[in-house]
């Protein structure tokens, strides 16, 4: 039986001034598990997430659980069930951990069961200003913040960027647990982490989708991985969500494939 996707994106375009950043991106996000949005730097991954949330000027058809959300305001989309963890965490540094969480979970803050379950360290740091936390702790605040809502989809942008290997593993653990309940569209350059938690991949290049398919299959194919992402992945080990390398390399030239070539 085919399960309907939680999110469908058709012919998504984003233009900033004279720059045509997304050029007809189309893909589905399955209703379960982690879908990784991959690609070299600057190909439009973060822009895609922002466009889905209405934070970038967009054209195209976007449906969430069958409902058209292509014109919705950002706060309504979030209330409708899209949680967003931005690339740079964007915690409010002048607010305490508890205040950061209370922005979403009005009455509970760090007292919410999900915080105690997944982020016990934040409970102890509830009165600490978020700006004084480490990068990993700020990432936990950013994740905890969105989990205080009942989401139908999470958009998570490079959650392990700049984190120490131990913290990368912790973040991967949290994402894997969250994905048991809520599908995640994950932008990530840490391929070992992708291999560990993602089920599906969508690869972008120069603002277009150049590959869609099974995550394990792509990452097992060294030639294809190198061709699409500019890097090959070492063989899986016991700690394959650990050190944040190898990462994909900066984008150099657009690929020539059409969006359907590798679907």
């Amino acid at each position: 039986m085919t399960v309907s996707p939680v999110l469908s994106v058709e012919d998504l375009h984003v233009r900033y001034g004279g720059s045509h950043v997304l050029q007809g991106v189309s893909f589905d996000v399955p209703a379960r598990g982690v879908t990784a949005l991959l690609g070299r730097n600057g190909v439009g991954k973060t822009t895609t997430l922002k466009a889905l949330l209405g934070l970038a000027p967009r054209q195209g058809r976007i449906t969430l659980q069958g409902n058209d959300i292509g014109r919705g305001k950002t706060f309504r989309l979030v209330r409708g069930g899209i949680g967003y963890v931005p690339e740079d965490r964007d915690v409010f540094g002048g607010l305490t951990v508890d205040e950061n969480l209370r922005l979403v979970g009005r009455d509970v803050g760090v007292g919410a069961p999900v915080v105690g379950e997944l982020f016990p360290d934040l409970v102890a740091r509830r009165k600490q200003r978020a700006g004084t936390l480490s990068g990993g702790q700020q990432q936990m605040v950013a994740l905890a913040r969105v989990l205080l809502r009942d989401n139908v989809l999470l958009l998570v942008d490079e959650p392990t960027k700049g984190l120490a290997p131990k913290l990368v593993t912790e973040v991967a653990d949290v994402l894997a647990r969250v994905a048991e309940r809520t599908p995640i569209l994950l932008v990530e350059q840490n391929l070992p982490l992708v291999r560990r938690i993602a089920h599906t991949v969508v690869v972008l290049d120069a603002g277009r989708v150049v590959h869609r398919g099974d995550a394990a299959a792509l990452l097992a194919d060294a030639n294809l991985t190198r061709e699409l992402l500019g890097v090959s992945l070492r063989r899986p080990t016991g700690d394959d969500a650990g050190p944040a390398e190898p990462h994909t390399e900066p984008h150099t030239e657009p690929h020539a494939e059409s969006p359907q070539d590798r679907s």
Partner: protein, 294 residues
């Protein structure tokens, strides 16, 4: 000693008026990034609404009650004007800063012209209750009572807004929005509605400042809004754009510097010294002006 005390209290009184005028500007800029040049028109609306209220009340009403009602009406009118301006003129122009400046400058000019057209260019005197017009002797100095009124009102407004910022959900959203309003919206919060509330709050503070400044000047006149707006902007910049507590401190400093310079240097030097203070702050503390928003 008595002269120094008089100057300090007078400076604090003036600083209190500057704070009331600047607090709304600071909140609006901090949260919304809008440089509201129409703030002077808000103050003018409050001042004239208060003056009209006092004139409309029967002579049998005690002057103190008239002034109290004038203050309430001025504050309410400021809030309503702020609300309408945000909804009708500012909302369609968010993130279009040049257009915002043009619209708010135009509104300021139009507001002043409208007041001139309706009530004329001449000042209209405002009566003050006996206690407000009188003085109190402290340590040999005859201190004008109205200064205590301004200081008291400013302290109440400061503590009220501070409590709102620290202890309410609206304040939490405002503080977060000052840091990163896009992220506030990305957390599912209708930041647009908060913008409207903050604009109305800023308008209310401006209306209050307008009527109190009119009692300080002894009259209402069309030029008052622009005159007070200049000092309000100076206070906001010195205090750190968007920093509420910084605005309060800067208002006190500007009021004191202006009074002391006017007395100890020469009459009129006070305004110049405030502008010099602004220049020094901009040159010495340039990075913190931007950081002040955080």
């Amino acid at each position: 000693m008595s002269t120094a005390l008089l100057l300090v209290v007078t400076g604090l009184g003036l600083g209190a008026l500057y704070f009331l005028a600047a607090s709304g500007l600071s909140l609006i800029y901090g949260l919304m990034g809008v440089l509201n040049f129409a703030h002077g028109a808000f103050m003018l609306a409050g001042a004239y609404a208060g003056w009209l209220t006092m004139g409309a009340l029967p002579a049998s009403v005690p002057l103190g009650v008239k002034l109290l009602l004038a203050v309430l009406v001025a504050t309410a009118v400021g809030a309503v004007v702020g609300f309408l301006v945000e909804v009708v003129l500012i909302r369609p122009l968010y993130r279009r800063h040049i257009q915002q400046v043009l619209v708010t400058v135009g509104l300021s000019l139009a507001g002043t012209a409208a007041v001139q057209g309706i009530w004329g260019s001449d000042p209209h005197p405002i009566e003050k209750p006996a206690w407000v017009a009188g003085t109190t002797e402290v340590a040999g100095a005859q201190l004008p009572n109205d200064r205590f009124l301004y200081i008291g009102v400013a302290v109440i407004v400061f503590l009220g807004l501070l409590a709102l910022l620290r202890f309410t959900r609206l304040g939490l959203v405002i503080r977060a929005g000052v840091e990163n309003r896009t992220m506030v919206e990305a957390l599912g919060i209708d930041v647009q509605r908060t913008f409207t509330v903050v604009f109305a709050m800023g308008g209310a503070a401006a209306g209050l400042a307008g009527i109190l400044y009119a009692t300080y000047a002894g009259s209402v006149s069309p030029a008052q809004g622009a005159a007070l707006l200049i000092f309000a902007f100076i206070v906001v910049v010195i205090g750190g754009m968007g920093s509420f507590v910084g605005t309060a401190v800067a208002a006190v400093v500007v009021g004191l510097v202006q009074q002391l310079a006017n007395y100890y240097a020469a009459s009129g030097v006070g305004d110049l010294s405030v502008v010099l203070l602004l220049a020094v702050v901009l040159l010495v503390r340039r990075p913190s002006i931007e950081a002040g928003r955080a």
